[in-house]
Amino acid sequence: MDFEFTEEQEKFRQEVRDFLEQEIKDGAWQPSCDAWIQGYSPEFTKKLSEKGWLGLTWPEEYGGQGRSHTDRLILTEELLRYGAPAACHWFADRQIGSGILRYGNDEQKKDLLPKIIAGEAYVGLGLSEPEAGSDLASLRTRATEDGDEYVIDGQKMWTSCGMFMNYIYVVARTDPEAPKHRGISEFIFPTDQPGVNIIPTIDITGSTAWAEVFFDGLRISKSCMIGEKNRGFYQVVNQLDYERAGLERLMGNYPLFDAIVKFVKETKWNGDYLSKDTLIRQKLAQLQVEFDIGRLLTYQVVMVMEEGRAPNIEASKAKAYSTAFEQHLASVAMDILGLYGQLVAESRYAPILGMAPHSYLGSKGYSLQAGSSEVLKNVIAARGLGLPAS
């Protein structure tokens, strides 16, 4: 047993922190909640690339660093702690790269991985559809074979990175006759072409981090298919484990945690600091307790990955837990701020940059995306505990 990082890992953490603190000092960005999924900054992504921090765990032959999942955990932990704008590369770095490594052919690896590592390929996620949310296998987007090409028709929803992607990862139906899990294939292709129409989705916070993507007779080369035809559903299930595996599920609104703790230490209401109030102390301490538990649950996920196993059950536990934490954090912050809690960032009197209402509203979506908490609990029950099919 060892609940600490090695000296070398701590050194890396310090290196990341030094870099991020300098960036903030230089005014490159202001820490904000959900910046991993909403923070658009090609410059920042490029800087991380120059540091060698994209594709950190990927093999050196494709331009990666061949480093451990624990190192990537440390890197992402710090990116989230500092609310860094990492959305351009996040999805490619988190799950698309590993999907290509696992199922892609050598040509695809040599083409796509270096582009992601260079901070140039921003890959959006084309998974959900109007009729395919949790039940992804019911997707209707069609990929029809036509000579050397596939013709893509259909609609994707909630495409992360949708408004700034230049590539999209798509799961589409390639065999409409087969049982629904067995007729799906995976594709990656550039979005800058006729037949791709992207419409922003305005979410409950007003953010346009997600998009609807329409494909209308889009022709793509057959070489865009990743892995085996009609095996896409089984391939994506593996990728989803990685999608759920990270600390963004716990730390998406970490800047709010920092800010509310600082706020109660520095703010006097009725003549005394808020931090002296027993109820506030209890509430924030409870958040700290819950945060630490979430951190341990997520570290466990990474240790499973280090063993070379797909973090299926563990990631389901960590994500189901952590998104509930994010919601609790936002709700506590709102309660502490009282009437001020409703003031959005642009308001004159908005405390802590309006992070609380943004996170309060935004966090409602995190227990839905990347596996709703209910789906994750199904996974825990069926695969983790061996309970019979419902």
Binding site: T70, Q282, Q288, V289, A320
Partner: protein, 375 residues
């Protein structure tokens, strides 16, 4: 980062589980609830032979020089088995403090006898107001010739009915809030009387009255008036240790609950095939993991001698409430059979609930966390 047990720890765990499965069935647990002593001297002697009581002592005192983390593994198994008796009191509340703060003479005198099963120890700490702070210590020890005279009443003293010795936290300085001295007291001394309290777990918590009990000054553990630092240290280790026993209970109860959900049929299908039951089980599994990791984080840090006020407080603040959620779900899944006195579940409900009440509730530990956060 590594949350797994070492090969040796896995072996210790397996040995402990095999031993307790064999020697500590629920029939024994039930019998010991009704037994006046509350433990089986035969099993106690066998535990001593296995080296359990002296696990963390140096070889020169009859121990096996293993770590607090190793002891934690063992404690987890005792919680899993609902092991009745004074193992926790003797080793965690008595043996560890003497090992850490005792003089050479004291260690020589007591540790080998703890290790070989001869001496049962406990700690007399809490009083009328059930608090774990120095201000709550009103039992007085007055300097008296070559020693001290202790008078007053302690409450919730575990296993005082069978203890050979007690560590007693007594006030020796009225002016300083933490003017506490820790004494090693022969439990058979004149002036000591005890009454076993009736508790939900029938686990032999006692009222202990000290009526002018004479204690020689050689029996001070550590320094006079400096005992509170030792007590804080004992509380911290004992808190982590208590969490280990709860983790053991939770793991067993999760297994038991999932098994039952697979077997029990209603509406012609196992109730475990209903999604609502599946989600209850998933929630339970998440709470077990959270409890296990935070408990072992605290135990590991204590074992490595790292400062961990926050981590210990986090573990206990968490597990108290996690257990509440957890056991409520287990009962809900078990249905009415689980609330009968003949079902094993009630042993865990009672013992683990008692454990969550011991050594600080969640509010108490959250306040520690708040201080550690700089609030």
């Amino acid at each position: 980062m590594d949350f797994t047990l070492s090969e040796e720890q896995e072996m210790l765990k397996t040995m402990a589980r095999d031993f307790l499965t064999d020697k500590c069935p629920k029939t024994l647990v039930k019998a010991m609830e009704e037994d006046e002593k509350g433990y089986s001297p035969e099993i106690w002697a066998e535990m001593a032979d296995l080296g359990w009581m002296g696990l963390v002592f140096p070889e020169e005192y009859g121990g096996s020089e293993m770590s607090f983390l190793d002891l934690s593994v063992l404690l987890e198994e005792t919680g899993r088995a609902c092991l009745p008796g004074p193992f926790f009191s003797t080793v965690v509340l008595g043996g560890l403090p003497i090992l850490e703060a005792g003089s050479d003479e004291q260690k020589q005198e007591y540790l080998p006898r703890i290790a070989n099963g001869e001496a049962i120890f406990t700690l007399a700490l809490t009083e009328d107001n059930a608090g774990y702070d120095a201000a709550s210590m009103r039992v007085k020890a007055t300097a008296d010739g070559d020693g001290y005279t202790i008078s007053g009443k302690k409450l919730f003293v575990p296993d005082a009915n069978i203890a050979d010795y007690m560590l007693v936290a007594a006030r020796t300085d009225e002016k300083a809030e933490d003017g506490i001295t820790l004494f090693i007291v022969d439990a058979k001394s004149t002036g000591i009387s005890h009454t076993v309290l009736k508790t939900i777990a029938s686990d032999k918590l006692c009222e202990v009255v000290f009526d002018k009990v004479k204690v020689p000054k050689e029996n001070i553990l550590g320094e006079p008036n400096q005992g509170w630092e030792l007590v804080k240290n004992i509380i911290e280790k004992a808190t982590a240790a208590k969490c280990c026993t709860i983790v053991g209970a939770m793991e067993l109860v999760l297994d038991m609950t999932v098994e039952y959900a697979k077997e029990r049929k209603q509406y012609d299908r196992p109730i475990g095939s209903f999604q609502v039951i599946q989600h209850y089980c998933a929630n339970m599994a998440i709470d077990v993991d959270g409890s296990r990791f935070s408990t072992y984080q605290a135990a590991w840090m204590l074992s490595e001698g790292k400062p961990c006020h926050k981590e210990v407080a986090i573990a206990k603040a968490w597990i108290n409430e996690a257990f509440e959620r957890f056991i409520a779900l287990s009962h809900q899944i078990h249905g009415a059979i689980g609330v009968t006195i003949d079902h094993d579940l009630q042993y865990y409900t009672k013992r683990a609930k008692a454990a969550t009440l011991t050594l600080g509730g969640s509010d108490y530990h959250r306040e520690i966390v708040a201080r550690e956060m700089g609030l």
